[in-house]
């Protein structure tokens, strides 16, 4: 079935695509609702939320920040399967014709936003950090080039926007209104080419980095695998644990359960010491709410310094051992 472009009538309505995992709406769903409310207000339209899953019937109330909850509750929608969810979502968008569709730029949302835009023949804006309305035009800030630059783009007509998690306060999207609730008629789900087989539990972790108060995080700047010991020694001196950014985990230097960021875990420790991490948006997403962020990097322009409270421009291979020694010395004094 090839994509078919349609003339989409220009309403001022906004459709948020709720994200669901483990029988719950995820945090980013409420962030999307917070963003969606601002856009709907700017356009003078209504805010709807597409809530697809199984067991959703009893959970529509949690989406009370929207004016309309369009829900589907079916066994076929229990696990996220890109083809299935896209098919249902496409049917919803074609029938409702919203001006803006807001999707999470997450591991599941990324499988919906761009294909949906291609099928509808409307533009897609990836990596959005902010979305607002100016004189009836939807405007977005998209972080491109690993967060080094921000593109301000304008959408004259309808479009799909993928919003980076952590960009809006979830609290603002946890409304307790009484939205109109409508059950979506499911499109035909025969002739599917993909299916869910099983969920793979994360490997049992010797350390749960989401519970640690002190994290020493290492990135590419650590250079060689042998240098990981420097981070481990500091973590041990501080009574914390070592975690890492994606490239080190992809290299197999550290297990997946130590990865912080978009495709890893979100952490909120009391101290996050980022060593040799440049601060790609996908990493910042997982750690920007840490209470105290200290960053060490050779590049003074690295984006990590924009979220860090304290920064050191220097070589982690020199700074880490100096820190370990100093921590041990002070502890010895105490």
């Amino acid at each position: 079935m090839a994509a078919q472009e349609v003339e989409v009538a220009v309403s001022g309505d906004v459709l948020v695509v709720a994200e669901r995992f483990g029988g719950e709406w995820t945090e980013v769903t409420f962030e999307l609702l917070a963003a969606g409310r601002e856009v709907a207000q700017g356009l003078g339209g209504t805010l709807s939320v597409a809530a697809l899953g199984r067991g959703t019937t009893d959970q529509v109330k949690a989406l009370g920040a929207a004016d309309v909850v369009l829900y589907a509750d079916a066994p076929e929608l229990e696990a996220f399967v890109p083809e299935v969810h896209l098919r249902v979502l496409e049917a919803v968008v074609r029938s409702r014709q919203p001006r803006a569709v807001l999707v999470a730029n997450t591991s599941t949302g990324m499988d919906l936003a761009a294909p949906l835009a291609a099928r509808l023949g409307v533009p897609c804006v990836a990596y959005c950090r902010r979305v607002w309305v100016e004189d009836g035009t939807v405007v977005a800030h998209s972080q491109v080039y690993g967060g080094k630059l921000v593109a301000e783009v304008a959408l004259e007509g309808p479009g799909v926007l993928a919003l980076v998690a952590g960009s809006y306060p979830a609290e603002a999207g946890r409304g307790t209104g009484s939205p109109a609730v409508e059950r979506i008629p499911l499109p035909a789900l025969e002739g599917l080419h993909s299916r869910f087989l099983r969920l793979i539990e994360p490997e049992a972790a010797d350390v749960d980095i989401t519970r640690e108060e002190i994290l020493v995080a290492v990135g590419r700047g650590i250079g060689d695998r042998e240098n990981l010991g420097l981070a481990e020694e500091l973590a041990e001196a501080l009574g914390g644990a070592v975690c890492a950014s994606r490239p080190l985990v992809d290299n197999g230097w550290l297990p997946k359960n130590r990865q912080v960021g978009k495709s890893g875990l979100t952490v909120k420790p009391k101290l996050y010491l980022a060593a040799g991490i440049s601060g790609a948006p996908e990493h910042l997403e997982g750690m920007r709410s840490a209470e105290l962020i200290v960053a060490i990097n050779t590049d003074p322009k690295a984006p990590i310094f924009d979220v860090a409270h304290y920064g050191v421009v220097g070589d982690v291979l020199e700074i880490l051992p100096a820190l370990t020694e100093e921590v041990r010395r002070r502890k010895g004094e105490g």
Partner: protein, 255 residues
């Protein structure tokens, strides 16, 4: 089994990026381009499938400064065929690439398209996912491993879900996958092997008809305004360490 890897060259993020005089585009004069790191993973996964199942691997990338090197390197790593997508002009958007491929790929014939899950310049969406939408093919993104059925009709893929979970999905071929990470880190090939590939292979060209696509109007490209900015500590490593640990002691983080 024919696996097509779609890659693209993107600015090397290790370098400084500057905005051009229009204030709406990248200053491309001294830009160093490298193969998108996730496309490296897509290529690795394709070569692993070739080694395990005898798949034929074609690697394809839009023409750009440095694309020849990237394609010869792909051949040295194990790709059978390498093609430049020509006719799209300088720095085509993801949408332009996807739309052009949607019309050019079917004539090439394929069972599986592998692309990097995303690229740093994907302002208007990810190539693989857009392509899947255009072709109406089943797709899975954020994939960390692909296994093929012995008869080559289906693939089992590992996909990332929220919260560090993975799922296993089954997809009938042909399909489009966005690779987050290959089953093993992308292999390294010495320059001598790349030189050998240059002697043994010729790069082919695939002509793309520019297809009209929805365009984003970029009003401004700029460095991000930092919400906050780190307070920098200066001095020798020992001096910096002393200042930093004092801060941690003050906050009760070192006791």
């Amino acid at each position: 089994m024919h696996v097509v890897v779609v890659g693209k060259l993107v600015p090397d993020l290790v370098e400084d990026l500057e905005v051009d005089a229009s204030g709406r585009g990248l200053d491309r004069q001294f830009l160093k381009l490298v193969l998108n790191e996730f496309d490296e993973h897509a290529l690795e996964e394709a070569v692993l499938l070739k080694e395990a199942h005898g798949a034929r691997v074609t690697v394809l990338a839009p023409e750009a400064e440095g694309v020849d090197d990237a394609l010869y390197t792909a051949l040295a790593k194990g790709a059978d065929r390498a093609m430049k997508l020509v006719g799209l002009g300088e720095a085509p958007s993801s949408r332009q690439i996807a739309a052009a491929l949607a019309s050019a790929l079917p004539s090439l014939g394929f069972d599986l398209v592998l692309t990097g899950v995303q690229a740093a310049d994907d302002l208007d969406g990810q190539v693989g996912m857009l392509l899947a939408g255009y072709l109406g093919l089943p797709h899975v993104g954020v994939v960390t491993g692909v296994e093929l059925d012995p008869d080559g009709s289906r693939a089992r893929v590992r996909k990332e879900y929220p919260g560090g979970w993975l799922a296993e999905l089954e997809v009938q071929l042909p399909a489009v996958l966005g690779i987050q990470a290959a089953k093993q880190p992308p292999r390294y090939v010495p320059v001598s092997r790349v030189r050998q590939a240059m002697k043994e292979h010729t790069l082919e060209e695939l002509s793309a008809e520019p297809v009209p696509v929805p365009r984003l109007s970029v009003r401004r490209l700029s460095k991000p305004e930092a919400a906050g900015r780190a307070e920098f500590l200066d001095g020798s490593p020992q001096e910096v360490a002393a200042q930093l640990v004092s801060i941690l002691v003050e906050r009760g983080l070192v006791r």
